[in-house]
Point group: C2
Chain length 366, copies 2
């Protein structure tokens, strides 16, 4: 017990605030993930904790009492219920979805006003990270670089030439911060050939993690869009204006609004992370993530699954018996009101079903 406390104490980072943007519908994980119950609210690893709970667990040793979750109004109550450790005022409800710059920028403005020495780290609520000590060590390094004025990201070591992520071109070491490097450029999701070249050249995956002093982030934004920054600082100064001002904010990702131009200006650093990371983008990545030696990976009650000569992923969340015979790389996701049958290879195309359901009047299922 005393040792555990000692570890926690040693990992605590003074004035470090963990910001958890909890958004996104997770369309490619339908019917498990829904608009009304997105993937961060689900236990996708089968360890008994939802993704947002696991995100909290991972960050608590660094910033136990300094957390801010930014989520949609519709999910606020469920987030509070899942994270009773948080004070209710640690959950900020967006009046509507307006992309990541508005969400993270609002957190920055609130923290800038609350703690002049704050460093914030923004980590999505719906990613899965293994080797959490390595994650926290990388974050500690990133905080050190952020205190020196950098906008810092954590670059994930690629395990394969993924085409679903952006990449980070890693430059020279940052003076005075061991383990941090300048970012030459953020590059968009590549083709398979380009991805292989990136991996070969030592590029890192861009996991969308940003560690920065709130004022630095807002000032970088102001260089691109001073009105946006002023609006965010205005909300922080008078939170009663949130509902009125929010709908006027631009819909733009933090990458485009700040990170890419700042990198071009030589003001972004990257801390290479050596931990396992996955954004659980679709059922194929969920299956890889869950791993295991069985031909059929089960997320849920294995007693509900019977297979003959089959492999793939089965999610028996409907409480019914699921039998699979003679199929390779199959994906079966059973829920109370909808069932998906596809393959690992076609896992991305689940979006087409969701789009069709929305169009033909079955949006309540999406």
């Amino acid at each position: 017990m005393s040792e555990h406390r000692a570890v926690e104490k040693s990992e605590n980072l003074d004035h470090f605030w963990a910001v958890i943007p909890a958004g996104g519908a997770g369309t490619r994980l339908w019917p498990l993930s829904r608009q009304g119950s997105p993937k961060f609210l689900h236990d996708l690893t089968g360890n008994g904790r939802t993704l947002i709970q696991a995100t909290y667990d991972r960050l608590a040793p660094l910033a136990a009492d300094r957390m801010l979750v930014v989520t949609g109004r519709a999910h606020r109550d469920e987030v509070v219920a899942q994270l009773p450790e948080l004070g209710a005022d640690a959950v900020v409800a967006e009046p509507s979805a307006r992309e990541s710059m508005a969400a993270i920028g609002l957190a920055a403005a609130l923290l800038e006003a609350r703690d002049p020495d704050a460093v914030m780290g923004s980590f999505a609520a719906d990613h899965v990270i293994t080797e959490t000590h390595a994650f926290r060590a990388a974050t500690a390094t990133a905080v050190e670089a952020a205190r020196a004025g950098w906008l810092v990201t954590i670059g994930i070591e690629p395990t394969h030439p993924a085409t679903g992520f952006g990449y980070i071109n890693v430059g020279a070491a940052v003076d005075g911060v061991a383990g941090a490097f300048e970012v030459r450029e953020f590059v968009e999701k590549p083709s398979v050939e380009v991805a292989a070249a990136y991996v070969e050249a030592g590029y890192r995956w861009n996991a969308g993690m940003f560690v920065v002093r709130p004022g630095v982030l807002l000032d970088l934004l102001a260089e691109q869009d001073p009105v946006f920054t002023a609006a965010l600082r205005g909300i922080a100064a008078d939170p009663s204006t949130l509902a009125a001002v929010w709908p006027t904010l631009p819909r733009i990702a933090v990458d485009h609004a700040v990170a890419e131009p700042a990198a071009a200006a030589g003001r972004v650093a990257v801390v290479p992370g050596t931990f396992g990371w996955d954004d659980v983008g679709d059922f194929a990545s969920l299956r890889t993530l869950l791993g295991g030696d069985d031909p059929v990976t089960v997320l849920g009650d294995r007693e509900l699954v019977r297979t003959v000569d089959a492999d793939g992923l089965v999610v028996p969340h409907g409480g019914r018996m699921v039998a699979v015979v003679g199929l390779r790389d199959v994906v079966v996701v059973d829920t109370g009101d909808a069932l998906l049958v596809t393959t690992l290879e076609r896992a991305q195309d689940v979006r087409a079903i969701v789009a069709a359901l929305k169009q033909d009047g079955h949006g309540h299922l999406t």
Copy 2:
């Protein structure tokens, strides 16, 4: 109306009794068909009538008031509910399952006692027949041959070299009955090569349809097993002995007990049928049966099915949305408490799932 009546009247066959054995669990149609609710109780063609109701409909013009259903005790009430046109005493409940000779033999003994001029025709409750007028015409010819003392079967014209059915070797024309031929031999389910040779040689599928005078059937049985015949006639003479005698009867199919030895003795005739017939043995044959031009055949509410780049069979009987993406020849059968995902090719192997469920304590789902 008057024309309809005229047709009915012209099709009626005096003293012809339709016997409908309603047994079999339909294991290969799990989870649609269950022990407690076998396939004859289900509408498998999507036309609003269950298989046993369709069997009744098909036979009613020939034998409206002369029907006998022989079924398991567990299914008696449901059969009576589905066929209110039948008098309750037209449904005979077997105390336990004892194969087809006992079921058909009991019907024969009951009819022998009831109507000295009876000809009975036995037609399974769970087969699907198209072109019902051709079926009834063939049956009328079979009845004519049966009155002349033959054990008569109806031979189905093969549409392909099926390996799942027995075949009938068709011999010379029967004197005095146009359209009937002697049966040289019944042969067991063949290999694919042998089946092709059978089809080439003009063999017919054995659909297990038998038309015969009850006394002829019982006398043929007596030649093989006089005790069996005596037991059946004893039950008919005193129905109160049914429960005591039934468990002592041999478990044997009518084909082995009577039809094969009678054919060897030159006493079986076949009437070639030109109608469509299917025993709906598995989901592949169900899909063929349902046909249609759509890549995905749906048995049930098509509104519940969404597909992208898929073909096969979907049965959305669970009331939930079923989405299929990127699978060929897939079979998805969704019910309230169990779900099956397989392929048309592996449809037969569903038996292995049912066997496993029985073994591991989930027999209530089978």
